[in-house]
Every structure is written in structure tokens, then in C-alpha cells.
């Protein structure tokens, strides 16, 4: 609807303000005179110039007339508006525009050509094809091939074998292109079972609709001859994409973009205010992670325990279960694919599997005298992966039966362990400066080499990118899809002694967040790499951050000050009143019973 209003507005603009209530005939006459006068400051139509593959002249006035200040050619502009009107179904208005502007949407030969293809007048369409004015011979041949191939199939469909053969020999063959395809076509004549229903795996010989053929031709012919469908809409969508990409703080849903103003989110879309402080751990909080469905949060502490928290529908986080049992601090946690179970790994100790609903420990995984250093679920939920102190990676089934052990220098004691959600790659650090990507099927290994030692890494949700935290206070973003390449660097946070974790987050994971030894949370925009927020509040190093995958406005941070902070959008002070009120420069916040 927006699109139509804009086009109508543009239409009126062109006509230089001619009254709407004048009878049509008068309007036409007036407008043709008006047009010559409305020249946008340029001279009268210049001499017409012809590109190598352009179509015949369409407009009576010069094709070089421009509108706006960026060289947009008026003839092209009007033509794509006409195309937009036709695809929206407003053919009367489209025809009206053509008449008023004197700019035909398509040259007459092209209109005839389109009609001939849709009518199945193949010979006619070939003849017209030569009259359209395409300079490139190979395009004419390819287009002829498509048309004649369709003619061939339609003849076969009507069981007219002799005519089909004649077409193949006298019309298709002489084009001298696609000789492999020509040979395949001859098989179709010879063998009845290769016909229309299509048996031979690769060649699906379903008779294509004529509109499909038209689309193929449209893609083949130069766009100046046949304007691509919905071209104006495509341009508008490109503009919206560019605006969204440029929007630094964009963290809201796509549906909120309007065509009437440029898209620009305010800083208020990033979580930047402490909403809640959770103080249930007895010692430093080292790690935390939201579940995939955003309903739970798990945190672990140097007090050897882990806590499962529940995120209420009102956004308030409350304690659900304490997971007691480990004898070392838990350094690695993994949510099961459907978020109903959790794996925790004590540092160089054992891996425990817990049920989220009951909080019960379902299984303990260990390997003799070796210590376990990391843990991860397989994406199908059936296996448990774990790194060992002897540098190998072990795979158990849920009952603890050892399925496989990847020996050799596969993982080091400090290493994280991640499996891509499609189950294809195992990601681990095999050396202090090297990340190893192991393909589970082919056993093929790729590497990411860094110059500095790696502290930790995180995988993006779409499995395409790896965020690597280094000792020199830099975060590196690597694309691991096909060619491994460095995409971006993020700097500003402080790290000199501890393991500090970073994460992806926000709508479409467009942001990067990291903890820091200066007690703040740092947030960057992923694309430009620009630091956009530092969140103050903690009174100790922030060791880990996690962004709620389902609620882009909720961020959690874990700190040496023994607390977890939940961050949300800045709200007006008057809205926040509750129990446990206390004053701080972050506004009023809830506390779990204790006063600050």
C-alpha cells in the first residue's frame, strides 16, 4: 500500500501539478506541453544515444533527461513505476501513466514478443526476437534455444513426433549451441519412456508452463529490453537493507520499518540498565549461559556449585535449582538441544548431567585417572563430548558408554569445546594459538592460526562465525564457512589475568558483548566493529556475559563481586517501584531478599 501511495505522489510530481479534475483528454494535451516545459533545469531533450545492447528508442523525448540530483534517468524511472503499477494489478493506472508520460512501458516489439510467447506462437516470437534490437548474437541464440526447446516439448506432448523431429533438426540444431542438450533432446524422441513424465533422474521432463519460459527469457534478455519483474520494489528493499545495516543500535524486529522515514534506532534499544541483581552464589561467578529457548539461565561459581535460574514471563529471574556435587569449580556448561538437561564440567574433574526440571544429577561421566576439561552435547542429544587432560576428546552415549575417542593433540586444558548445531564440526583449541575445526564425517581438519594466545571462543548461532578472545585484549571475528578468514576485530575491554568470555547477541546476533577486568560490560556493533556501550555497575571483574537468544533486550553478566546482573532497556524512573528499593545510579532494582 505504501508503495502505491509513493508512486501516485511521484506521478503527480511529474505532471507538474496539473489539476486532477480535468477531463482526461484535456489532461493529456496539457501534460505533453507541460512535460516539455518541466525539464528539471536541463536543456531540451538531447540527441539520442545508443548503447551496444540497448533497445530501440522508446520515448519521444530524450533518454538522457534526469530526475533528482543523482543522475536517475527519467525514462527509466517512469518505466519501473509503470512496471510496479502493473505488478500491483493497477493496469488502468499503468496504461494511464504510459499515455500521460508518453513513455511506453515496453517497446511495441517487446509487448508483441511477450504475447507471442504466452500464446505459444513460437515461430512468430523468434521472428520478433530479431526485431527487438538486441545486439548480442549469443543472447539471441540462447533465447531462440529456450523458445524452440519449449516448442519441441509441446509438440512431443501432443504426440507430434515428426514435427518435433523437424524442429530439432532444422531449427534447434543449426543454432550450434548446447550440443549436449540437443543430443539429450533426440533421446526424448527415440524413447517413449523418457517422455513427459520423466524417468531419467537428472532430466525432469515436465512440460514447463509458458509463463515459466517467459521468466527464463526475462532473465536472459538485457534489462533495458525487458524490465525485470518488481524492479522498483527490489530497489526499495535494497534501500531498506542498507538503512538497517547502517543502523548502529538496531535491535528491534524487522516489521517496524516504514518507508516514510529513514530507519534509525535510538540507543534505547540496547540493554543498558541493571534490572535485577542476583546474589545467590557464595563466591565469584565465572560462567553463565541462557538456554536456547531463553527461559532459563545457568551460572557457575568458584564455590563449586552451579545454579539454574528461571526467566519469568514478566522478565524477572528467580532461582530454580542449586546443582551441588562438583568438587572443583565448573568451567564448562552445555545445554541439551531441547533445553531439558544440562552438562557441567568441573575443572580437570568430572562431567555431570542434570535434569533441568527436577535439578537431579542423572549421570556422572569420568575417565579413569584423567581429568575432564570441557563438555558439549551432540546436536542430536544422544552423545556427550568431553576434552581430557591427555589432550584427547572422548565421546560417550548418554549412559556413559564410550563410543569414540579422538586421540592425539586435539584439545588443551584451557580449551572450550563446541559442536556446530548441524553436527558437522567439532571446534576446539589444539594449541595455545590454534583453533582446530574437525569435520566429523570426513575427519578433515582445518585450522585458525592466531599470533597471540587464545583465551576463549564462541560460535555464532548460524554456525558461520567464531568469536575468539585473545590475551592481548582483542576479540577477533572469524568466518569459518568455506574459506577461513578474519572478518573483524573488537577492542576496548581489559583483560590481563583472567579468562574473560564474550558472546553474540541481539536481533540477528548483530552485537558482540564481552566481560572485562575493569568491572564493565562492553558492547560493540558487530558490523562496523564500533564500541557502542559500556555498562557500569559491577564491583569486580566481569568474567562472562550471555545475551538472551529469544529476548534481544535482556543481557546477563557474571562477576567476581559474586553477583549476576540482568540488564534491560532503560526505563523511566517512575515506572520502577518495588520491594527492596535502593538507590544507585542505575535506578531502582530488585534484590533477592538481601539489601545492598
Amino acid at each position: 500500500m505504501d508503495l502505491f501511495v509513493i508512486i501516485y505522489g511521484l506521478n503527480a510530481h511529474f505532471m507538474g501539478g496539473v489539476e486532477d479534475n480535468e477531463p482526461p483528454s484535456k489532461r493529456v494535451k496539457a501534460s505533453s506541453r507541460e512535460l516539455k516545459g518541466v525539464s528539471n533545469g536541463l536543456k531540451e531533450p538531447a540527441t539520442y544515444s545508443f548503447g551496444a545492447s540497448m533497445a530501440r528508442p522508446l520515448a519521444s523525448q530524450g533518454d538522457n533527461e534526469v530526475t533528482g540530483s543523482k543522475g536517475v534517468k527519467k525514462v527509466e524511472f517512469v518505466r519501473i513505476i509503470a512496471e510496479a503499477l502493473y505488478s500491483l494489478g493497477y493496469s488502468k493506472t499503468g496504461a494511464c501513466l504510459e499515455e500521460e508520460s508518453g513513455i511506453p512501458f515496453q517497446s511495441p516489439p517487446v509487448s508483441i514478443f511477450i504475447q507471442q510467447v504466452l500464446d505459444g506462437n513460437w515461430d512468430g516470437s523468434i521472428a520478433t526476437l530479431h526485431k527487438i534490437g538486441i545486439m548480442d548474437e549469443s543472447i539471441i541464440k540462447s533465447a531462440s534455444f529456450i523458445i524452440l526447446q519449449q516448442k519441441f516439448f509441446e509438440l512431443l506432448d501432443r504426440e507430434k513426433l515428426m514435427e518435433a523431429l523437424k524442429t530439432l533438426r532444422t531449427e534447434i540444431s543449426p543454432l550450434s549451441i548446447n550440443s549436449d542438450r540437443v543430443r539429450e533432446l533426440s533421446f526424448f524422441i527415440l524413447s517413449p519412456k523418457f517422455r513427459i513424465t520423466g524417468v531419467s533422474g537428472q532430466q525432469s521432463v515436465k512440460l514447463k508452463a509458458r509463463s515459466e519460459i517467459l521468466e527464463e527469457l526475462q532473465n536472459l534478455l538485457p534489462p533495458t529490453v525487458m524490465i525485470p519483474d518488481r524492479r522498483l520494489l527490489q530497489l526499495v528493499e535494497q534501500a531498506l537493507d542498507l538503512q538497517r545495516e547502517a543502523c548502529l543500535f538496531h535491535n528491534s524486529d524487522v516489521g517496524e520499518t516504514s518507508l516514510f522515514t529513514d530507519h534509525q534506532c535510538g540507543r534505547d534499544q540496547i540493554p543498558s540498565q541493571t534490572i535485577q541483581i542476583l546474589q545467590e552464589h557464595q563466591d565469584e561467578v565465572w560462567y553463565l549461559q541462557f538456554s536456547q529457548n531463553g527461559k532459563y539461565l545457568v551460572s557457575s561459581s568458584s564455590d563449586n556449585s552451579a545454579i539454574i535460574w528461571e526467566v519469568g514471563s514478566d522478565g524477572k529471574v528467580s532461582l530454580k535449582h542449586r546443582l551441588i556435587g562438583h568438587r572443583r569449580p565448573v568451567s564448562s556448561i552445555s545445554w541439551s538441544p531441547d533445553d531439558d538437561q544440562i552438562l557441567t564440567c568441573g575443572i580437570e574433574e568430572v562431567v555431570r548431567r542434570w535434569d533441568v526440571t527436577s535439578g537431579a544429577c542423572l549421570h556422572v561421566y569420568e575417565k579413569g585417572l584423567l581429568g575432564l576439561v570441557s563438555c558439549s552435547w551432540s546436536p542430536d542429544g544422544k552423545c556427550v563430548f568431553s576434552g581430557l587432560t591427555d589432550k584427547s576428546i572422548i565421546i560417550w552415549n548418554l549412559d556413559g558408554k564410550e563410543m569414540e575417542c579422538l586421540k592425539g593433540q586435539k584439545t588443551i586444558k584451557n580449551s572450550d569445546l563446541q559442536i556446530t548445531s548441524d553436527g558437522k564440526l567439532i571446534i576446539t583449541m589444539c594449541k595455545e594459538t590454534t583453533i582446530l575445526l574437525i569435520d566429523r564425517e570426513s575427519r578433515c581438519e582445518r585450522c585458525i592460526e592466531e599470533q597471540q594466545m587464545i583465551v576463549s571462543f564462541t560460535l555464532s548461532r548460524d554456525n558461520k562465525c567464531l568469536l575468539v578472545s585473545l590475551v592481548n585484549e582483542e576479540l577477533h571475528l572469524w568466518n569459518i564457512e568455506n574459506h577461513i578468514r578474519l572478518v573483524a576485530k573488537y577492542k576496548g575491554h581489559k583483560r590481563s589475568r583472567f579468562i574473560v568470555n564474550a558472546c553474540f547477541g541481539g536481533v540477528e546476533q548483530a552485537f558482540i558483548a564481552s566481560g572485562s577486568e575493569d568491572s564493565q560490560v562492553y558492547i560493540w556493533h558487530r558490523g562496523p566493529g564500533e564500541l557502542i556501550e559500556t555498562l557500569e555497575g559491577h564491583s569486580g571483574a566481569v568474567n562472562c556475559v550471555s545475551w538472551n537468544p529469544v529476548n534481544p533486550h535482556m543481557l546477563a553478566s557474571a562477576s567476581d563481586d559474586r553477583s549476576i546482573r540482568i540488564w534491560g532497556l532503560k526505563q523511566l524512573r517512575s515506572k520502577q517501584k518495588g520491594k527492596g528499593k535502593s538507590v544507585s545510579n542505575n535506578g531502582v532494582h530488585y534484590c533477592n531478599g538481601a539489601t545492598i
Binding site: S302, N414, I499, D560
Partner: protein, 128 residues
């Protein structure tokens, strides 16, 4: 403090005398003839698990140097110093390398070093 990022070294290791954190490898010793207030000190081409303090200019027996103290990442005790810049041409080889005081280290065989009486009398830092 948070979860310490500690690098594990392999082979013959010198560790922090107080907390056993790995600091350097025997193979990385460049020179054993350095001296400090507490006696012997070794020059290493690289060290691990240390944090670097504030840079300062110091006049030593061999000339003016810009150095910074280095501290064990775990227990925070000072274990030596690192050379940032050497202002004399023939001392340039020290740049980027670090000196660990033998007194602060536990050797590869677990042995410690005890300062001799004469060394304690020396007040200023010296090197050869």
C-alpha cells in the same frame, strides 16, 4: 579473583617459588650471568603467566634502560623485570626479553636458591 588464565609449559620448567605457577622454560635461558638485589638472575627470551607493571627508566651498570617489573599472575609476587628499551646500542639484544630472579623461582628439579651473605650486602641492582 576470576578464573586465572594460566599457560601450562612442558619440559624443564622454572616456576614461581610461592605458588608453583609455570614461568619459563630452561630452553629459553639466554644468559645466566645477571645479578639483582637477591643474587643471581637469568635472562629469558620469553616468560609465561606474568603481568607487566609500570614502565620506568633506570640507570644500570650497563647503561640507561626502560624496564617494567613483572609479577606472577597468580600470587602477584614480583619475579623480575622485562626490558622494554635499551638506550645503548650494544645492549639492544635485551629488548623484549625478561629477567627472572633465581631467588623467586623453583628450579626444574624443584630446587630453590638461597641468597648468600655477600649478595645481601649489595644494595643496588647490578648486571653483567
Amino acid at each position: 579473583m576470576g578464573r586465572l588464565f594460566l599457560v601450562a609449559l612442558e619440559a624443564k620448567i622454572y616456576s614461581c617459588k610461592y605458588c608453583k605457577t609455570h614461568l619459563a622454560l630452561c630452553d629459553d635461558i639466554v644468559s645466566k650471568s645477571f645479578h639483582c638485589r637477591h643474587g643471581k638472575a637469568y635472562l629469558f627470551s620469553k616468560v609465561a603467566n606474568v603481568t607487566i607493571g609500570v614502565k620506568e627508566d633506570r640507570m644500570m651498570m650497563t647503561g640507561l634502560h626502560t624496564v617494567a617489573g613483572i609479577f606472577c599472575v597468580k600470587c602477584g609476587s614480583i619475579v623480575g623485570w622485562t626490558y622494554e628499551t635499551a638506550h645503548e646500542k650494544n645492549q639492544k639484544y635485551k629488548e623484549g626479553k625478561s629477567v627472572l630472579e633465581r631467588f623467586k623461582l623453583s628450579g626444574p628439579d624443584g630446587s630453590s636458591y638461597w641468597v648468600s651473605h655477600e649478595a645481601q650486602i649489595i644494595r643496588s641492582e647490578q648486571e653483567v
